[in-house]
């Protein structure tokens, strides 16, 4: 069964066979796709351009080039507007939460996938519930859970919540992955006298690396972009994460109008995800294709 041929392959034999209709359709398709591409790309380019302009220039004309290409806006956003602090907070929260959720998620998925014990099904359905129900249902009680354990408005509190809400997705995907790993390596490890702990950390976890990488990328994007949880649970400005800082910045800018710095802050926020996207673009697309996100 041959699937539809790869889209980028140019079949030279048939090149000359294009009919007039084909050419017309191809031209129309290109025009439509190019328009959509422009609609996607132009706002980003405009933001980058504007981030080099002074607020005065931004308000004067959306299209004009900056009189001086300077990084003043970036310096201003980074230091005065607090983006540096927000950036640092985000790196800490997302970094620690990512490591924790990958480790705990892998452990949980491994046990669920490779051992049989009473209650496994219950755990499975609880995880499914965690994936299905909107966070909004939990947000108010969650606020008080954190308050009662003294973790409200703290980075550790935010980290725990990030881990907890990223867990179901992580477990579901890695569950399928651990199930698909071959048994013979596992058996060999046991034969050699390796215990459960060593088997997991030295044999099974390294074998699951491709799956782990994919889930880690999706978790990174999800956590880096998270908005509701920090806005509700982390209201101390010195502990803001980037997304919160951006919202705060914009609501101030409405009157104080420092659009130059706002555009610079947008660029600073987008660059890390752009880098992740460009490096892992193939893996991201590949895993969407395999239905990871289900």
């Amino acid at each position: 069964m041959s699937a539809v041929a790869a889209d980028e392959s140019v079949d030279t034999e048939t090149r000359n066979d294009r009919t007039g209709g084909d050419l017309a359709v191809e031209a129309t398709s290109h025009v439509l796709l190019a328009i959509w591409t422009l609609i996607v790309i132009v706002p980003f380019l405009w933001v980058v351009l504007s981030s080099f302009k002074t607020t005065k220039e931004i308000l004067a004309s959306p299209f004009s080039l900056p009189a001086h290409w300077s990084f003043d806006n970036y310096v201003h956003a980074w230091t005065d507007a607090g983006i540096r602090q927000f950036f640092l907070n985000t790196v800490i929260v997302v970094g620690v939460a990512l490591v924790l959720v990958m480790l705990l998620g892998a452990m949980c998925a491994y046990v669920l996938a490779r051992f049989q014990f009473p209650g496994a099904r219950v755990i499975y359905y609880l995880m499914l519930a965690g994936l299905t129900f909107p966070i909004f249902l939990a947000i108010v009680p969650l606020f008080f859970v954190l308050k009662n354990v003294g973790l409200l408005n703290t980075l550790p509190g935010l980290i725990m919540v990030y881990v907890a809400f990223a867990l179901p997705f992580t477990v579901f995907f890695l569950y399928a992955f651990f199930k698909s790993l071959p048994d013979d390596v596992y058996e060999a490890a046991l034969m050699d006298g390796a215990g459960d702990w060593r088997t997991f950390f030295q044999i099974m976890l390294p074998m699951a690396r491709p799956g782990m990488a994919t889930v880690a990328i999706f978790n990174f994007l999800g956590l880096w972009n998270q908005f509701l949880l920090p806005v509700a649970l982390n209201t101390d400005m010195s502990k803001y994460v980037l997304t919160q800082g951006m919202a705060e910045f914009a609501s101030q800018a409405g009157y104080a109008v420092d659009f130059g710095a706002l555009f610079a802050a947008v660029v600073i926020t987008v660059v890390p995800v752009l880098i992740v996207f460009l490096i892992f673009q193939r893996r991201l697309e590949g895993s969407v294709s395999q239905g990871t996100f289900r």
């Binding site: 539809v4 191809e26 949980c108 108010v140 009680p141 859970v145 919540v161 752009l274 294709s289």
Partner: protein, 326 residues
């Protein structure tokens, strides 16, 4: 990458011996730690929400009364909330529909839209289009909202400047997000814009999984591109469409981030206010925690209902199993 094979015996784990001490400690740590966090921060709050929703708790007093379903009765007479519910329903109908149509159209062009002779393939240069349109998916939603708030800005925004430049009059200072007629469509467009690329990639994968013979057969039978897309592609990717519809619907029923960035105060005449914004304000600005949680319950119920309706609609129209429509 291999996928689940299933049905394979897992020998050691199946043995009936008493588990060793090492195994017990291993299971306790490996299951116990993640589950404890999950139960405390996810399941417990979900459970509590159902109870809070039936109290008059306002957050300032330590005590509160159980008032049954009063909060829900109050909700259905709350004009602002009902308006928000209506807005969310509009969002849940329009956003998935437009996103899926656009994504399917792009996916079709880049996979099977190529020449009518030779191999079944897409048009040239399709990889580029796919990569570019996927990118917004990775950008934080709040940032997307802020970028578009600037694009829509009446006087300094990109959109009005462009429209004026190409000779359209009346757009010099048109407030896209401030006019009750355009605030909602403009907001919807932002959400659609950010998701088209992601679902394009999903549909591209689904279409590539269709055997080329089916397309060749359709071509021999004289089906044109449009006919092929409607009668061959669509029925064969309908389960993917269902998944996409549910995910997009859930996003649209939330929509919190986008609306907070575009119109934090609900827009002109509350035309873009959503249940999520209403819930957030009621809880964290007004401190009416019991009432806000009741809104959360309604939001959850609407979300589940939505998913059920999509499943039922797909089943009812003959989906659920992959087959070709004659």
């Amino acid at each position: 990458m291999t996928t689940t094979t299933g049905g394979r015996p897992r020998p050691v784990a199946r043995s009936r011996r008493m588990p060793s001490l090492e195994r017990l400690s291993f299971m306790a740590v490996f299951l116990g730690l993640p589950l404890a966090i999950f139960l405390v921060f996810v399941i417990y709050p979900f459970g509590q929400a159902l109870y809070f929703a039936m109290t008059d708790w306002n957050g300032f007093s330590p005590s509160y009364n159980f008032i049954g379903l009063d909060n829900f009765t109050k909700l259905f007479h709350d004009d602002t909330f009902m308006k928000s519910l209506g807005n969310n329903i509009q969002l849940a109908i329009v956003v998935p529909l437009v996103t899926i149509v656009l994504a399917l159209a792009i996916a079709t062009m880049v996979t099977v839209g190529g020449p009518t002779k030779g191999n079944i393939r897409g048009i040239r240069g399709s990889g580029f289009y796919r990569i570019v349109s996927f990118f917004p998916y990775t950008v934080p939603a709040i940032v997307i909202g802020l970028i578009w708030a600037q694009v829509y800005d009446p006087s300094a925004g990109l959109l009005n400047a462009t429209l004026t430049k190409i000779g359209l009059s009346g757009f010099e200072d048109f407030a896209w997000l401030g006019d009750p007629r355009t605030a909602m469509p403009a907001s919807m467009f932002v959400i659609i814009w950010s998701f088209v690329g992601f679902y394009t990639v999903l549909f591209v994968a689904a279409i590539k999984g269709i055997p080329a013979e089916i397309y060749e057969a359709a071509r021999m039978d004289g089906a044109g591109r449009f006919r092929t897309a409607i009668s061959v592609t669509l029925p064969l990717v309908r389960d993917n469409v269902q998944t996409a519809y549910i995910y997009l619907g859930i996003t649209a029923l939330d929509a919190f981030v986008y609306m907070q960035a575009l119109n934090p105060n609900g827009g002109p005449d509350n035309t873009t206010r959503t249940m999520s914004q209403e819930l957030f304000n009621t809880a964290f600005r007004k401190g009416q925690f019991g009432y806000a949680t009741a809104m959360g319950v309604v939001l959850a119920v609407v979300t589940l209902l939505f998913a059920a309706i999509v499943f039922a609609a797909n089943r009812f129209t003959g989906g659920g199993e992959r087959r070709l429509r004659r």
